[in-house]
Symmetry: D2
Subunit: 410 residues, 4 copies
């Protein structure tokens, strides 16, 4: 975390406090429909149990705020740091990631007790100006884990042949409009986060880039369009695919987005009819790239996307407002519905320096092999993202709400 | 299942009924201390979640008794056969074994509801003479799964770094007496199950074997003796080991029995001091064979063991009487404490024929690559085993209560 | 090696010397049609390069005879023991088995130079009575590697899509007679090697076994009969298969014996039309067992086979007389054509004791997980085998000339 | 291959012809010191046998020139396209990459016969203006395989514990000068290939980029400096490493560059003393990045490197002039010694379009997960590379002559 970049909005301390409380409450709301057993499942190494997210976000506040900044704070349980550290090497040993599903104890109730204890202990620090940056980071961190919790539990429930639902079916219907384009003449543009608001270290330093003329679609690719791609043999033509993508498709026998089954898709409300007008989601970079090739277009770069988004309201679109089933529905906003693959690798911006200490491990150490995604999804807490936000995943991963916005040269 | 061999004790129908009820109750008692989350964990492919055992044993009665023999019985849930069939190919498709830990639904309570429904439906069949054989098989089947439930949940809880206990600590202490020997002059002996009582198909047909003079130890090898083996470099001398065993030891970096940690062992009551006088347990065939070589002795054959056991009470020794922590304590009985490795491969007896239909898959199809174990363990329901009983596991497996009784030529 | 069992025929020392020379020559004849590149291929971990067999058999004589018994003998090359030790732990470190195909150096010519050097140095020891046992063991050891060389190079050449031949096509045709049975009334029989002739340690001690009445077929199962098994869906019916076998069949998509392609089979002479009257070969234990179940018969035990073979000439049948393409052709001999699976696990005989030192690792340490095969194959040097000979392989292995002789209870 | 970019130098057709002949001859010179067995080894899936390179480069000319452009040309052998196609999906089925080491046939001599046949058949096409682009591509393709042949055979010989040499030791000594910096004020720069000379499609289209002020070191990092990194615990401090890199280091137990052994390194001349003044080589991206972090510097971007190199002679430095042992020796040239990792992911330039047909698979389909390397190595044919040249490998690969040139912000 680069200190110079993270400036929580100290002018309104109440808002940080409220944001903290709202965030902490939302995690608990998200887990409410889950049984102890639901909350334990780890369906693959990329995913974590729901209860682990509850605990790990608490560990973050206990470690980086209470332990480091609250004098006389005693660890709630000596074993928890080992159990609930995720990947911070500087914080010592930790559970093997792949074995998180083995932790039936502590129970969800015990973790909730711990949460309450930590939240109560945090109250004093919430007014401490020196801690505002770290608290803002902790809130953003928990919001990220809220989205992971939603995508991980979806993947977990999907493993069950009976296709369980954790929420009732949402009332929503999508309408796909004609495709329009945001055109841009190219030239020098300013990229990256600036100003006092919170942002992750990887969004800066702000700097200039040079763009060629381009256009970015004004809506996402839909399920119906994806069906055309399938019908046209898109999954079977190696000429459309990256070499690694073709190997992945062969190894895993991929022939449709994740969660598709006949005319249905799996959702947090179980299997539901798939809306052809809604944005396609749960696709890998390989699939997105192959689709774009098939469509005679390409993926945007992260810079192209950001330049277009700079004029838009980050709070727009289909984002998460409260606990309930996330589902892409479509619209013209650049934010919401699905994270959008760019053809930009996730790499450091010029003069990027990771912060010192354990929180410096937050973003920089993942800068190889991954691609940048922009926007926000229906499972992203509204307002969490911004134009400069850089999400990142490996090109084969698709359990997130990932989608596709076409781009082209003009 | 060979029909001719399975003759439930029809002279006392009440006893079959009582045995059914007692068995069904015990499974529920065993799962009582577990949370929903505990009951879901599958720690490795060899093991199953506790709740799966609850359900699978119910599936057995629903399928082979109610579906096949109770007219007008309707399946409780159409999805359950797919979820809870274990390995019966003749019964159609089933869940991948390795994914049983993904079934957070149905919940334990829903499975218990199903159990009650099946048990109630079974009441009429319990008086049906034609069904007695199959009911006796179902009871024996459930008793086997009770032992598996106990060993699987032990392995599951062990995965947790905090070492949870599911029961309080038992009051028991072991006393290891001097080693004596059961001597036998050799000659022709009769082996295998005979008579009207229930036995598995693999215990017959009864037949004669020719034995050389031999002796079998009158007690099991103890933790203390195993400590001597370790101290003497037993795990580091390839000359003591089978070739496959040495490769297994190298791959998995084996240097002690499963569950050993310093001077403690993991138990159903968490980590507890290890009693040097108690029988060593949770060892593989490879380790047992290496120890015997080190001790200048050998493992008995299944026939040698059985001949000695024929004169002994199968109900003796440290076996499971009720829900509670199983723990080897030692004694002179051939039954109880630990299953005992023999140097006999698990193979068909002369003229063995598996039964027709799905229940014919019970034992015969596992007759390659495994070794026979004799006796009974502290986790075996008392009376479940007998002198002719043939338990079997692969030589690397050690999550059962496996132990070692030495033998020698005389 | 149990010294008491290995008594080379000292009454005719010339014959040991001649046998040594003939054996050493045959290895070189076998490799003659191979290029440097052919001789290097290692097609799987179970197999070794042809040149490695040439070298390893030489290492055996250099190590256990020259180094240990020829005063003042100097190692030909200090690196060779590391390169060419196979699995003798007592002989120190060695190449990873799976990397033998990386040894382009030393060249075949360099290995042949080493052979000549070792053979010349051996001349004195060939007259040394104290060495006769070890020399007989070394000869038998090299004969085993000659068969492995033949089966390994067959597997290696098979990997090549152009299906190369190392020899011209043999002139032979098979004729399958009606199936008859060798009947036996059962009772006590004597099993295992006795007398002064050479035998491996695992063939003893001789001892008695008790047999039930049985019959063993007087010829092997043929390709034609195997075709009937396939046509009848034998590979697709799980009821015929052992559980491990069914998993193996599924994982490896097995639907025919190794080397079958349409109506042809791969041979040392390339792909050749498959003779329906010739014995089927290159089958696994799993396949053999499934076929026997399908045929309403079973595999013989090793004891049943041996008792029938005791009255037969071990030099009979289709065995290897000189370098040239081995191919099963059929006949009534119990020896030759194919090694025959028994349903006996490879385990120690009563009172078996492996010898001291490195040669004690010859056989005993492989006594888990494997099955005994009896007889001899078309790739076995004539006279190498005998009624008491115990060959052994894992149940999935099938790159040897393995076949099937039915048995039944009577 | 983008046709518009590949303009062979038609003004001097003689030179294309000479270049073709020289290139074809060099491949044969490189393989001259190898035995049939050396030429067969495939040490890992990333590498190919030396003979395969000989054949595959011939397949390229036979397929894309003779088959497509020489009327009446008949394939030399119908099996060769299947055996020697590398990855061109449009050209149909092909050998599994991992099984190339199984092709003992055709022999090296047979492949050389084929080469002669193809070369003779090519003579007419060498004067054909329409074919000049494809011939230039074929030459560049073969030059790439010459470098691979050298790095693959080095890796193959290294597998052998006796450390064979294929050439005598080169006379050379390195002198590491003080580190200086090429400074650049930043601003808009022009990147990518322009003009009529040959270049790969991935080097274009030429376009502008915006650079911040930076400096690039005027020599490579040396073995001595790498030794300091090791001595300072560089391989043991997770804070220096990318997350994927740390996992790779742990899994493979990496503690030094590939080929290091004590104070020696493995070379084409066997193990040789390592010169502390020579550039370090055979490092992964992960190692290069960790070193740069440790040194308080960073890797250059591909654009920074290219801008500095635009003023330099691509024929300078330690590059390959003839068959013989390649070895980094140091110097001030940006070209030669080692390929230099950049922190730029290998991605398409703006408006990049792969060519139509099979040759369009040349570069574009590899654009995910890899990093760009710039410069040339001691195993690169002199003149093959250029400032705009983009080599690419995965971040864990290090069997190429890869090295490291530091960069920094100014």
């Amino acid at each position: 975390m680069a200190r110079t970049q993270i400036q929580a909005d100290n002018s309104d301390e109440r808002s940080l406090k409220q944001q903290f409380r709202r965030t902490r409450q939302l995690s608990q709301d998200l887990i409410a429909p889950l049984s102890e057993a639901d909350a334990l499942i780890q369906s693959m190494e990329d995913a974590s149990p729901a209860k682990w997210h509850l605990a790990h976000t608490t560990w973050f506040f206990e470690t980086f705020l209470l332990r480091d900044h609250a004098s006389a704070y005693q660890l709630y349980d000596q074993a928890y740091p080992f159990l609930f550290n995720s990947y911070y090497e500087a914080e010592g040993d930790r559970m093997l990631r792949s074995r998180r599903g083995m932790l039936s104890r502590p129970s969800v109730d015990e973790i909730l007790d711990w949460r309450r204890h930590v939240d109560a202990s945090m109250e004093d620090l919430l007014d401490e100006p020196d801690c505002a940056d770290l608290i803002a980071l902790g809130i953003a961190h928990e919001q990220q884990h809220q989205e992971l919790l939603l995508t991980d539990i979806k993947h977990a429930l999907f493993q069950n042949p009976i296709g369980p639902a954790m929420w009732g079916q949402p009332q929503c219907s999508a309408e796909a409009d004609d495709l329009g384009w945001h055109e841009h003449p190219g030239g020098i543009a300013r990229i990256g986060h600036e100003g006092p608001d919170f942002a992750f270290d990887n969004e800066g330093p702000a700097h200039r880039v040079l763009l060629e003329p381009f256009a970015v679609a004004d809506r996402l690719v839909t399920n119906g369009e994806w069906g055309d791609f399938i019908a046209d043999g898109g999954y079977d033509d190696p000429a459309l695919w990256l070499s690694d993508g073709w190997a992945w498709r062969n190894t895993h026998k991929i022939s449709a987005p994740l969660y598709w089954r006949g005319t249905e898709s799996f959702t947090h409300s179980g299997f539901q009819p798939r809306d052809p007008h809604a944005p396609v989601t749960h696709i890998s970079y390989y699939e997105a790239d192959a689709f774009a090739s098939w469509a005679g277009a390409r993926l945007p770069t992260e810079f192209e996307w950001e330049v277009i988004a700079q004029g838009q309201d980050r709070n727009d679109g289909n984002q998460l407002d409260q606990a309930g089933p996330p589902l892409p529905t479509g619209g013209r906003s650049l934010f919401g519905d699905c994270w959008q693959f760019t053809r930009s690798a996730y790499l450091p911006y010029p003069r990027f320096q990771p912060g010192a200490g354990a929180v410096g491990e937050y973003n920089g150490k993942f800068m190889s092999g991954q691609f940048v995604l922009k926007g926000a999804s229906c499972a992203t807490v509204r307002g969490h993202s911004r134009a400069s936000y850089r999400n990142f995943f490996y090109p084969h991963q698709r359990w997130q709400f990932t989608g596709l916005r076409l781009a082209k040269d003009i």
